[in-house]
Symmetry: C2
Subunit: 225 residues, 2 copies
Amino acid sequence: MLPTTGLPYGTVPRLERPGPLRDRVYGALLELITTRALQPGQHLVESELAGHLGVSRQPVREALQRLNTEGWVDLRPAQGAFVHEPTDEEADQLLTVRTLLEAEAARLAAANAGSAGIAALEELCAQGESAVAADDVDAAVALNARLHAKVMELAGNAVLAELAGQVDRRVRWYYTPVARQRGRQSWTEHRELIAAIADRDEQRATAIMRHHTEHTRKMYHDREK
Amino acid sequence: MLPTTGLPYGTVPRLERPGPLRDRVYGALLELITTRALQPGQHLVESELAGHLGVSRQPVREALQRLNTEGWVDLRPAQGAFVHEPTDEEADQLLTVRTLLEAEAARLAAANAGSAGIAALEELCAQGESAVAADDVDAAVALNARLHAKVMELAGNAVLAELAGQVDRRVRWYYTPVARQRGRQSWTEHRELIAAIADRDEQRATAIMRHHTEHTRKMYHDREK
DNA sequence: GCGCCGTAGACTGTAGGCGAAAACCAATTC
DNA sequence: GAATTGGTTTTCGCCTACAGTCTACGGCGC
């Protein structure tokens, strides 16, 4: 029992604290990288970024450190940070791992999900389908991410979610051109997945998710030609 | 063709460069944490560590950042770094993920390994068995890690190896008391695994590795009682 | 005696500065 | 004309200093 004031929640403006500067710098840089504003291979100069963001070099350094450990930039000693250049081989390996993690998440979701969670999935799926019907690609992509995140949440494994989150973001970075094209079929597969989860059918959920992510991988390889 | 001097390789001492200070601080702190010199929940004061290591606060900060993203320490805003306290739930989730990653690695190793790689595995396994026979627990533990790392290497998936490496280290941190006890049976399972890989039997390799890691998980839960 | 407030201490978060290593470019020599 | 070498510039790595914030403790009022 935290407060004794009797105030209902939400009445207090919750005075927003900006939070550590390095985190905001991290978010900003990640945004710039994923949106291709900073292109792969580009040399990121600390002082430039600092001046551009209106902060000192220190928060920029710490943000670059984090981006380095998460694989977004390569930090060559005594040279600085360079936006990571994805290779075809690495993209393929990332997709393999993603398939693995997402399939496991689907299995755990099928095992653990409650009716409320399944309802949430169906809600997201319905929104996604209508977005596709309205040719709203951006909304469809966003809802796709939220759907996968929800499945991951229902799996109830925080460690798995953490890893999958990182892998997913990088996969989306590599495949944004591809992912935008495959809208309609993706959502019918989502429907099947939700049905399997609702049936508590772990095997089927795993298989569908595996097939689903493998399908995106196929599309990538077709694109290369 | 690099040199035109005609000097044979190895004659030059290759004067070792200390490398970035932050990396060495990172290694030192990781060592201190895994060896329990720094206990879970302990408050890590930057200036103390800096003074103790004979460096400034800056490299310490960057090392702590990295340790934070990798889950070794928790970084509470405006309070500092605290050694991460593992919970039973988290340990279980980590083991689930580890099982997943190692099993996939075994499958890929079975699919891709060459005869040289298999020979290396058998060599490591033989060394491990003799270490167990000699009751050299430390050597057995080290060889166990090297064997798993070798399987991961043979899998030929750098992304998978990266994730598995982090998960494995943390699992070993949680389970060091347990892992030391289960020596003998572990190595018979390793033998079976290598046989399956040598036979290029992906299914069997996956199953054995899954069973193998699940077995350690069981031992953990038994230990709690 | 109990609880609240104010103050002091400590630590983190951020900024700026100095030395050093690497890259770049031009001049020089073979 | 090509390779090398020397100097110059840019940038990083690290240190030091200052401001903001959280915690803890002692005094004060009730």
